[in-house]
């Protein structure tokens, strides 16, 4: 029943999806190329934010490739995708909510026990 003549398509006796060598090697090769690209992209100065954006975009692309092809999520049950993607969404929520009040700390002073800052009176001055 487990002949080496197996086709890559889902057959009834086969558990799970069999990835073709082409897909596996292609994914691995693309990931290595993208790693090289992300290293080289850092050397070019696009400005800190754009550089970070490029690096993250490449990382997300690489992660997507890993998830879809190495982890077979493309061919897996929808429920598994729902479980995993919801975890990623939850993680994104954690990060996003943490950054929501970032601009509130601009006027933070470094604490000096000898000279504690005066208590603010009235509303904080706007820029």
């Amino acid at each position: 029943m487990a002949s080496t003549e197996h086709h890559d398509d889902h057959d009834e006796n086969q558990l799970g999806h069999v990835a073709s060598i082409k897909v596996l090697v292609g994914t691995g090769g693309t990931l290595l190329v993208l790693t090289l690209v992300t290293v080289l992209a850092t050397r070019i100065d696009f400005g800190a934010n754009i550089n970070l954006g490029i690096a993250m975009a490449i990382a997300v692309l690489k992660a997507t490739l890993v998830i879809l092809f190495f982890m077979h999520l493309k061919y897996d049950k929808l429920f598994h995708a729902v479980v995993f993607v919801s975890a990623i969404l939850a993680a994104s929520l954690f990060v996003g909510f943490t950054l929501m009040d970032t601009s509130q700390y601009d006027q933070t002073n470094i604490w000096n026990p000898d000279k504690p800052p005066a208590a603010p009176i009235g509303p904080r001055a706007t820029q």
Binding site: L32, A63, A91
Partner: protein, 527 residues
């Protein structure tokens, strides 16, 4: 059913070839597919949990990076992109072999399965090996987390003043052995002295009023050094075959070693305790000379007397020559002590040089955290730094102006040489640390990397070690799991209807790879 459940696996009625196929199909599952799907759901739930588990650290990372971008842009320069990139490639390749292992198991290709699993393990071990190289380098350079962050050198390779003074061989050393160095004064120069290279750290304290130049003497120790007593009025020399020149007024000098040649400008209190020392003093107040008193129970070693020449004794009454000679020693009959030859002109000085010299007031010994200052054409003015290290702890955290002056240089320095004014910048505590020309972003980064770290840089490494450490533990766990799989694969346990463990472990391994795919740019590739 319940009675069957107690039967050992691989019982005849669940044998190979028909029905459930593999003997590893558990009785409580309907069939192989049922078992496989259950395990698969389990591993996906576990992976979802892993994502949430790591997300806590990513939150810490993002929050802190958002608030302190300067720390990230500075501290990541300590990490070597080379190592991170190699590790990324190694993990991607191992992910490929892990995925291939699943395929081999599904298609009943035992040799390929074993090869793929072994390659995955080898890659994981390579990853850990590179991690070890990185971690041990950071350990030795004290680039660690929390309060253990006390770096010996800045990312630009410039030595930093450390709290612990435990950096081995990285400090600027005054080469006593061959070239003959200069003992500079001031607390920073003293910190630069690494008197015993075999011993880690700098054996000098960050105090201006006193410096102990105690040389740990191997047999052929030669020194040649200048010492300015107007700045550091106390000096103790313990060494052999040294040549010292002391300028200015010295409060107190003790020479303990043998065969030293010491030239002193003026001294209030000179003690020569070794033997065969040649000491020339221009002006002295009180001179004591004699061999080192033997320890209790030890016989004094036979010694050659010291030769001390004093040009001008300041007060006639005070000189107390060869004080130790008057002490009666029980062993003296056996080892008659030769009297030290001390030549002192018998005259009164007309003036007292000691009244005129004033010891310089204590200099600050600080280390400043700062943002590198770049003089833009339209922006001139003081920038502020914060004292992060100071002898007087009450001064710590104080803001000081670090660059108030952005003038055009008299002559244009080589634009490519960013560190041209390195010397000037690197004197810790010196106030003007700004380069006096406009820099490109790249030069700005290079300059920044040469300076001391911004305040709280230890946070970066706390996060770095937490993230890479947790990831490393996952890799280590993966090695264990894949070794177990390899053993089972060699035993031939895996068949197309039973390869769940290989599939689940591969999924786990892909998540480990996935996390590294994010860690690499976030930690190593900060622009």
């Amino acid at each position: 059913m319940s009675s069957e459940a107690h039967e050992p696996h691989g019982a005849d009625d669940h044998g190979h070839g028909h029905g459930h196929g593999s003997r590893f199909i558990q009785h409580h599952y309907d069939d192989a597919k049922h078992q496989f799907d259950s395990g698969k759901l389990g591993i996906w739930l576990f992976l979802a949990q892993e994502v949430l588990f790591f997300s806590a650290l990513f939150v810490a990372y993002v929050l802190y990076r958002n608030h302190h971008p300067e720390i990230y842009s500075y501290a990541h320069k300590w990490l070597q992109v080379k190592f991170g990139a190699i590790n990324t490639a190694v993990l991607i390749f191992s992910s490929l072999t892990a995925a291939w292992a699943v395929r081999a198991a599904q298609l009943a290709q035992p040799k390929r399965l074993i090869l793929c699993l072994a390659t995955t393990i080898a890659c994981a071990l390579t990853f850990l090996g590179i991690k070890y190289i990185e971690y041990s380098h950071k350990y030795h350079e004290q680039i660690l987390f929390g309060r253990y962050f006390d770096p010996c050198v800045s990312p630009g390779g410039v030595e930093l003043l450390t709290r612990s003074n435990e950096c081995a061989g990285t400090k600027t050393t005054v080469d006593f052995d061959e070239k003959g160095g200069t003992v500079k004064s001031g607390c920073f120069a003293e910190a630069d002295l690494d008197r015993d290279r075999d011993k880690p750290g700098v054996q000098a304290e960050c105090k201006v009023d006193e410096v102990h130049l105690e040389f740990y003497t191997p047999p052929t120790f030669k020194t040649s050094t200048n010492h300015d007593c107007t700045k550091v009025p106390i000096a103790n020399f313990v060494g052999n075959n040294g040549t010292y020149t002391l300028t200015g007024l010295c409060e107190s000098i003790i020479v303990k070693g043998d065969k030293n040649t010491v030239t002193i400008a003026s001294v209030k209190h000179l003690q020569v305790q070794g033997s065969d020392n040649h000491v020339a003093v221009k002006a002295a107040d009180l001179v004591e000379a004699g061999p080192v008193p033997p320890k209790e129970g030890e016989k004094p070693a036979p010694s050659t007397p010291n030769t001390i020449t004093v040009d001008k004794a300041v007060s006639v009454d005070k000189p107390k020559i060869g004080a130790t000679d008057s002490e009666v020693n029980a062993d003296e009959a056996e080892h008659p002590r030769e009297v030290n030859r001390v030549a002192i002109p018998n005259q009164c000085p007309e003036e007292n040089p000691f009244e005129e010299h004033k010891v310089e007031p204590k200099k600050p010994c600080w280390r400043v955290a700062y943002q590198p200052q770049v003089c833009k054409a339209d922006k001139v003015g003081p920038k502020y730094g914060i004292i992060v290290e100071y002898d007087d702890t009450s001064e710590r955290g104080r803001e000081i102006a670090i660059a108030a002056d952005c003038k055009k240089p008299d002559k244009a320095p080589d634009p490519g040489d960013v560190l041209a004014d390195k010397e000037q910048r690197l004197v810790l505590g010196q106030k003007l640390i700004a380069p006096t020309r406009e820099l490109t972003t790249e030069q700005e980064h290079e300059l920044e990397a040469a300076g001391p770290p911004p305040e709280h840089t230890n946070m970066f490494f706390s996060i770095y070690f937490a993230m890479t450490g947790l990831h490393g533990i996952h890799v280590l766990f993966g090695v264990g799991v894949f070794t177990w799989l390899l053993i089972r694969a060699i035993k031939g346990h895996f068949t197309p209807d039973y390869f769940g463990p290989v599939d689940y472990a591969a999924l786990y391994w892909h998540i480990v790879d996935l996390i590294w795919i994010f860690l690499f740019p976030l930690l190593y590739l900060i622009h």
